[in-house]
């Protein structure tokens, strides 16, 4: 039976059918659902790892031990896992190993627009790129055979539109190939210089073998139609091109994007009058074509920025534009905001009042940078709030009592803890605030090592953040409830004033968690409201202003009561 599945679910189905036995990942949009779906299969061991480097090492260890393994991550996660990737390419595998990496052209939910295909070339690792959910299932399944045939990890590259688009797939049988025998082989698995030199020879030969395979493999497919226009594309761009050009163009659909075939491209191009390379982000395929003397049109006509689409392709290649309607209205933008009842809101409000410099991090709380809270000064990458604050305070120790770092519980475990060790070891007078909302929030509620639950929801040991901070050498550790503005502000003030490093844990579970009980929505008493707009300063989406009075939207308010602490006239009343 055909089922409508997002690309990520289809990848999980393919991994399962391909005999995956061990899966370890760190969540990251747009890759998260792959591992969430794998966790539903009882015959696959699955877990959330503390970060992508750990996840990949778990997968490498499992593959060498003889079990088909998987790790998945978003594009920036592969930066974290790059260290094991480059050397796992040398050791190769025993049982197959698949790595999914999801890029985010257009940055729907990311801090940069990097193109992960460069990692395939740099680490000399075979990379497949599916174009819809059926490809996702098929490619993920076949990746295990390829991994074992060429003795290499295999990268599966997705982009947001493939990962999060639903299309039809058909489930197949699981190829449960069991656990392969592990044979001790230090020349292959102990990467010290003498062994690694020998392995590098193997890796170069492997790339040549893969290249030969890429010339004829079923992943790279030619569709000949009208030959005035030829299109070379992979992934979602193939779909956009098909929609824009239909039978008026011929296509070379590349399912394997590293290594790229040479002869196949030359033969295809020779049959077409004009050849376009359609690829989002960097000119990866285009440069390969040009380097091999194939004349193609690429980034000189298109763009390195954002996503492509059928209308962009139709406009550039055919000069065609679609008519559309516009309303004669000034339409204000609707940027994302912290949810109603979000525990981060109270904390950011206090930080704003204190006027401190805030070193920020990656998560829902990055939205503390947006108006009207406008609190965060810097955001770079996972964990950089803590180490960045240490750097700031070493550079400008006189202002150390006017700066803080904010980092979520999951991000802190991912890579904030190492920065905190630096603060303790090298003694900067830094104040680190851990926003402990008891979940990995932005990616859609995944358990993590602080929540006391595994990916399957089973109880397990939980990292004790207070004890952890103390163990690394932070003596001053405080806990506050961010719904209590007075307490939160006074504790942060005390810790800023202290002449040593401190950690403040702002603890309150995410308001969207199922077990969090919501209070009745608050109501504004119009007789008491003076229209002073104090309550509007926290940027709560439940509060708006109509006819010179504040109004609370009962469909959104969860009765957290933060706004009522700002009202000098007791106008916020408990609803019935």
């Amino acid at each position: 039976m055909k089922q409508l599945k997002i690309g990520n679910e289809a990848v999980a189905m393919g991994l399962y059918e391909g005999g995956c036995r061990v899966a370890s990942s760190y969540p990251g949009t747009p890759s998260t659902e792959i591992t969430e779906v794998i966790s539903k299969y009882d015959d696959v061991y699955s877990e959330w790892a503390p970060n992508e480097k750990v996840a990949m090492e778990v997968a490498v260890g499992a593959a060498i031990a003889g079990a088909r393994s998987f790790c998945g991550m978003k594009h920036v996660g592969l930066n974290v896992a790059a260290d094991p990737l480059f050397t796992a390419s040398y050791t190769g595998v025993n049982a197959g190993m698949v790595i999914a990496v999801a890029d985010d052209p257009g940055m729907h939910s990311s801090q940069n627009e990097q193109d992960s295909r460069h990692y395939a070339r740099a680490s000399k690792t075979l990379m497949l790129e599916p174009a819809d959910s059926a490809d996702c299932l098929n490619f993920a399944k076949q990746a295990y055979t390829l991994s074992e045939t060429f003795d290499t990890p295999v990268l599966l590259r997705l982009t947001t539109r493939v990962a999060h688009s639903r299309s039809l797939v058909e489930a197949g049988e699981r190829d449960d190939c069991g656990v392969k025998e592990y044979v001790k082989n230090p020349q292959k698995y102990v990467m010290m210089p003498a062994n690694a030199r020998t392995r590098h020879v193997v890796v170069e030969q492997r790339t040549l073998d893969e290249l030969k395979w890429a010339e004829t493999c079923e992943f790279n497919r030619v569709e000949m139609n009208d030959t005035k226009i030829g299109v070379i594309a992979a992934g979602i761009c193939y779909q956009y091109a098909k929609e824009a050009l239909g039978k008026n163009a011929s296509y070379l659909k590349l399912g394997c994007v590293w290594p790229l075939p040479v002869q196949k491209i030359k033969d295809f191009a020779a049959q077409c009058d004009k050849v376009y390379v359609l690829e989002e982000l960097d000119p990866f395929i285009e440069e390969h074509c040009k380097m091999n003397g194939v004349e193609v049109i690429g980034k000189e006509a298109f763009t390195m920025l954002g996503e492509y689409s059928q209308s962009l392709i139709a406009k550039v290649i055919l000069g065609k534009e679609t008519e559309s309607l516009t309303a004669d209205l000034d339409i204000p933008p609707r940027p994302p905001v912290l949810c109603s009842g979000c525990p981060h809101r109270g904390l950011f409000y206090c930080l704003k009042r204190l006027g401190v410099t805030v070193s920020g991090d990656i998560g829902c709380y990055t939205l503390g940078a947006a108006a009207p809270l406008d609190t965060i000064d810097t955001v770079v990458c996972m964990g950089a709030s803590v180490s960045g604050l240490h750097g700031r305070n070493k550079a400008d120790p006189d202002n150390a009592n006017k700066s803080v770092a904010v980092i979520g519980d999951s991000t802190f475990i991912h890579s904030g803890v190492t920065g905190l060790i630096d603060i303790a070891y090298n003694q900067s007078n830094s104040t680190v605030i851990i926003l402990d909302n008891s979940i990995t929030g932005m990616t859609g509620h995944q358990e993590n090592p602080t929540t006391g639950k595994t990916i399957k929801g089973d109880p397990t040991t939980a990292v004790n953040l207070e004890a952890l901070a103390k163990a690394v050498g932070i003596d001053r550790v405080r806990v506050v409830d961010p719904y209590d503005l007075k307490q939160t502000e006074s504790v942060i003030k005390e810790e800023l004033a202290a002449d040593e490093p401190s950690v403040v844990i702002s603890r309150r579970p995410c308001a969207l968690l199922k077990y969090v009980k919501h209070e009745k929505p608050l109501k504004v008493n119009p007789d008491k409201c003076k229209g002073c707009k104090s309550c509007m300063r926290i940027g709560c989406p439940s509060i708006s202003f109509r006819d010179k009075k504040a109004v609370i939207d009962f469909t959104q308010c969860i009765g957290c009561g933060v706004c009522s602490q700002l009202c000098a006239f007791d106008a916020m009343e408990k609803g019935e």
Binding site: K2, L4, T29, P30, T32, H108, S109, D132, T160, R161, H164, S165, R166, S167, L168, I236, Q239, Y240, K242, E243, A244, S309, Q310, S311, T322, E323, S324, L325, T326, A327, D328, L329, D330, I331, P332, P333, R334, P335, P336, V337, L338, C339, C364, T366, L367, A371, P372, M442, T443, G444, M536, G539, P541, I543, S544, F545, D553, F554, T555, Q556
Partner: protein, 191 residues
């Protein structure tokens, strides 16, 4: 059959994802090739959200571009205006009259435009305006506004009532089945 395109737009948290799952389920049961595209992550936090649903004999691109949507189902007035350029000339729009202030309006930096429905009609759109929130409350809960809107859309398609209702039954949690049945019917009967 030529590919048809439906957009579902609204504000993060309004339940647009459930609506697109329901729609996807109906169209798959009808035997079409279907693609549904949605974006997860940051924009879901109270931002402007959009889901694309396309069906036909063979669908290539999962996204809908300016001037391409046969139907736009908007969960909020301002979002209808924002996404109007995506409507095909001659396409139909269903707009929930609910208003949700975006942050620039909350902060007093911008105005929520008045007369949105009139402006949409003046621009040439075929608009059905519906107070889905009241109908949902009538059905039993404000949370069922998304299913009311699906009912309004369903009545405008060639697909039969029973097929839709079957998909509602497959998509919503059993606990809320009666509520959602009622919500769907109220939407379906809306003129």
């Amino acid at each position: 059959m030529e590919t048809k395109s439906i957009m579902i737009v609204g504000v993060g948290g309004q339940g647009t994802l459930l609506a697109s799952r329901l729609l996807g389920s109906v169209l798959t049961n009808e035997g079409y090739d279907v693609k549904v595209s949605e974006v997860h992550g940051m924009s879901q936090r109270g931002g402007s959200v959009v889901t694309y649903v396309k069906y036909g004999d063979e669908v290539s691109s999962p996204i809908i571009e300016k001037g391409e949507a046969d139907y736009i189902l908007s969960f909020e007035q301002l979002e209808a205006a924002r996404w109007l350029p995506f409507l095909k000339i001659g396409g139909k729009m269903i707009v929930n009259t609910q208003q949700m202030d975006p942050m620039p309006v909350v902060m007093g930096k911008a105005q929520y435009p008045a007369g949105v429905i009139d402006a949409l009609q003046k621009a040439g759109a075929d608009v059905t305006a519906v107070d889905a929130l009241s109908l949902a409350v009538q059905a039993g809960s404000a949370k069922a506004a998304n299913v009311v809107l699906m009912g309004v859309l369903a009545a405008k398609t060639d697909i039969g009532f029973d097929t839709w209702m079957q998909a509602v039954e497959q998509t919503v949690p059993p606990k809320f089945l009666d509520l959602n049945r009622k919500a769907f019917e109220l939407g379906y009967q809306y003129q």
